[in-house]
């Protein structure tokens, strides 16, 4: 038994060291491609840590979302912004100070926390005993995590599902490709979109640099008599 506990301790320490190394590497590297990959590794190592803590459902989600989908989304972003981080002009002294103080407060806060997994912890005395003892008879499924998520705490899960949906709405408002506006502002000039022109044709036109519908028009003039150019600014990226 004590051998098993020692093994677990060793595994936890190794995983925590790996987490720290991955975190430091993400901060140090200026290559964003490497940073994204290291962030994926960070997620995978935390998933391993969750497995050691017997939270397999959380580990599963962390591995699928953190290491999988997030990495792909970040890579998609890198395709747009390039993979080189610019060196900051000033030394980030104030951010460093804020991070150190916040981290210090958090570490101080953990000293007041009850020991991990202890029987006397408040979390093990409120509703948890009821869930663990009665869910077999009340819900009739073996996985307590699922009965808590889907049945006892159905409201919470409904709220989470709604939050996921709201996240989609937010991202689509910012990033989705709607219909083209009448004109787009790109690289210092207005480009008229011909009726029925597709986005690909427009991008081709911009790349060739000699657009048929290009108008050299000062922006101030446009503000005075036309629709607000700010409406179309989002389209030029």
């Amino acid at each position: 038994m004590s051998d098993g506990v020692l093994m677990t301790e060793i595994v936890v320490v190794v995983l925590l060291v790996l987490l720290a190394v991955a975190g430091m590497a993400v901060i140090r590297t200026r290559n964003l491609f490497a940073a994204v990959m290291l962030a994926g590794i960070y997620s995978l190592v935390s998933a391993g840590l969750f497995v050691v803590m017997d939270a397999v459902d959380v580990a599963f989600t962390e591995a699928a979302v953190g290491a999988g989908i997030s990495t792909v989304l970040l890579l998609g972003t890198l395709a747009l912004v390039g993979h080189k981080e610019t060196t900051p002009k000033r030394k980030p002294i104030l951010p460093l100070f804020v991070v150190l103080v916040t981290g210090g407060i958090l570490v101080y806060g953990t000293s007041q926390m009850p020991p991990f997994g202890h029987v006397d912890n408040p979390a093990n005395h409120h509703v948890a005993p009821h869930y663990l003892e009665e869910s077999e008879h009340e819900i009739h499924i073996p996985n307590v995590v699922t009965s808590v998520l889907a049945s006892y705490r159905g409201y919470d899960t409904l709220g989470e599902t709604a939050v996921v949906f709201a996240a989609m709405v937010g991202v689509l408002l910012l990033l989705a490709r709607g219909p083209l506006p009448h004109r787009v502002f790109h690289a210092g000039r207005w480009i008229t979109v011909r009726p029925g022109e597709t986005r690909e044709e427009l991008e081709e036109e911009i790349r060739e640099g000699g657009p048929v519908g290009a108008e050299a028009m000062p922006r101030g003039d446009e503000v005075a008599r036309g629709p607000d150019p700010a409406d179309q600014e989002g389209e030029h990226g």
Partner: protein, 141 residues
């Protein structure tokens, strides 16, 4: 594109297994780790892999963005629907005991219903997010 034979064949070989694994995670959530959220992400990952290897256009032919948006909303409606059905049958909102004559079966039906809702929403949202990010291209001035 044409010289990545291993990648293309590997993806074609893996995709059905990923889809089946997602269904396994969904329906085995009552007995082991898993459930709607994880299954939705894995299902979406199959489409993301397909889009990464064969291009966004091919993936959009299989699953148009509009379908993903509809899935994102539909799942929440399925979840709410289970809640309203249990109200109509005389219980509280999301009280699954009333969904069947035997409360044990009712709990099963209810959990399958809400997990399906979570699966559909998470799948739709993940695919929609991927399309939104991957659909934008850089135009250098």
């Amino acid at each position: 594109m044409d010289d990545r034979v291993v990648l293309r064949i590997g993806t074609k070989f893996l995709t059905p297994f990923i889809l089946i694994f997602a269904l396994y995670v969904q329906f085995h959530g009552d007995y082991g780790p898993g459930g709607g959220f994880q299954a939705g992400v894995i299902l979406a990952a199959a489409f993301v892999l397909y889009a990464l290897v064969f291009g966004l256009g091919k993936a959009i032919e299989v699953l148009p963005p509009q379908a993903a948006y509809i899935c994102g909303a539909l799942g929440v409606m399925i979840f709410l629907g289970v809640g309203y059905v249990s109200m109509v049958l005389g219980g509280e909102f999301l009280n699954y005991n009333v969904l069947a004559p035997d409360p044990a079966n009712g709990q099963h039906y209810g959990i399958i219903g809400v997990e399906l809702g979570v699966l559909v929403t998470v799948f739709g949202v993940m695919v929609a997010l991927f399309y939104a990010f991957a659909g934008r291209r850089r135009i250098d001035p």
